[in-house]
């Protein structure tokens, strides 16, 4: 009997350990049914912005990649430095994994010019091929922020939209939002980095890296 209990306990702990690895990420946002009965998940619209190297950045930049999104201001005194610190942890962890990129949009298009973004990127020592800091038309940036934030939100009843919460959002290679975290919180970012690994396994099942 003792051996039976011990074996059951062992089996329980073993299954608890392997479950997260087999976990798949949900598709976030309100889904709808197509006329043919297929489920349609919300996806990110077409966009075009310009990065710290004065290069155009659009959906094609992230073709066959997953990416992490955030919205920031270079001069933000409170939330942004914490989010950038956690963003840098993600950047460092996946630096040599070309299946993932980062995309940060400035909301302060007046002060955060291309030159200011370049200077900011140099200060952070980030590679512009890996982490795009982008600017563009202010209304276009707020508009796409509404898209990302209305999908990635804690409360489905909340109106959504950019809320200066420091959220980091994970987008899959088919433009669907799959996870998000509070970018000011290191522990939540750890959980988010684990979600990135799960998504990489799901979307690139045959890749070694």
């Amino acid at each position: 009997m003792k051996y039976l209990i011990a074996s059951l306990l062992l089996l329980f702990f073993w299954s608890a350990c392997i479950t997260p690895e087999n976990k798949s990420l949900p598709y976030l946002g309100e889904r709808r049914l197509a006329a043919n009965g297929d489920t349609i998940y919300p996806s990110i619209r077409d966009f075009t912005f310009i990065d710290q190297d004065s290069q155009w950045v659009n959906n094609a930049t992230f073709a066959n990649k997953i990416y992490v999104v955030d919205f920031f201001f270079i001069h933000c005194p409170t939330i942004c430095p914490k989010v950038k610190a956690n963003g840098l942890r993600i950047y460092q962890k996946f630096l040599h994994d070309n299946r993932i990129m980062l995309l940060s949009h400035t909301i302060d298009v007046k002060n955060d010019t291309i030159a200011a973004l370049r200077q900011h990127a140099e200060k952070l020592h980030i590679d512009s091929q890996k982490w795009k800091l982008v600017t563009g038309n202010k209304d276009d940036i707020y508009s796409i922020a509404d898209d990302y934030y209305s999908i990635a939100k804690e409360n489905p009843e909340a109106p959504g939209g950019f809320d200066h919460s420091g959220r980091l959002i994970l987008v899959d290679k088919n433009r669907h939002v799959r996870s998000f975290c509070n970018g000011t919180d290191a522990e939540d970012t750890d959980r988010f980095m684990h979600d990135i690994e799960i998504l990489l396994k799901e979307q690139f099942p045959t890749d070694a890296k």
């Binding site: 001069h75 005194p77 302060d108 200066h164």
Partner: protein
């Protein structure tokens, strides 16, 4: 006077030099001075937290502000100029008011610096001024939103 002191010679010398009659007077002096300095630092910290909290609070309204601005600009473009001259002028003014409030927030962020390392009196004056500026900006953002919403509702 010397007999009043029990303690290391350096302390005795210090008390004699500054004419401190009893050693416990020295301790009281240090206690009062450090309490005042601590309370001053706490006040500065509170001011800084308050300033940054008002900033964060106002920032949360920027998405609403921009959504209204986009909506009014779209409605403005769709309206016929001749028959809606007054309404279009009001819409233009509301968008301008929202742009100004948003722009002032960006300017505030660009110039605001944490006063760490500054003397307490200077930090206090600086933060009081910044709190006043950012509180006004928060109110301007709210007023601009209310004016735009009122205009939007009047057109429904």
């Amino acid at each position: 006077m010397q007999s009043a002191f029990v303690g290391p010679p350096a302390l005795r010398y210090f008390c004699q030099k500054f004419n401190i009659m009893r050693v416990h007077h020295l301790f009281w002096g240090i206690l009062i001075f450090s309490t005042a300095a601590c309370s001053n630092n706490q006040h500065i910290q509170q001011l800084q937290e308050q300033t940054e909290a008002v900033h964060d609070e106002a920032m949360k309204d920027l998405a609403t502000l921009n959504r209204l601005s986009r909506s009014l600009k779209k409605a403005y473009a769709e309206l016929d100029s001749v028959s809606n001259e007054t309404l279009k002028a009001q819409m233009g003014k509301a968008v301008e008011q929202m742009d100004k409030a948003e722009s002032e927030m960006m300017e505030w962020m660009a110039q605001y610096r944490s006063p760490e390392g500054k003397p307490a009196s200077e930090a206090k004056v600086y933060l009081e001024n910044e709190l006043s500026k950012i509180s006004k900006n928060r109110d301007d953002i709210r007023n601009a939103i209310q004016a735009a919403q009122a205009l939007q509702n009047s057109g429904k």
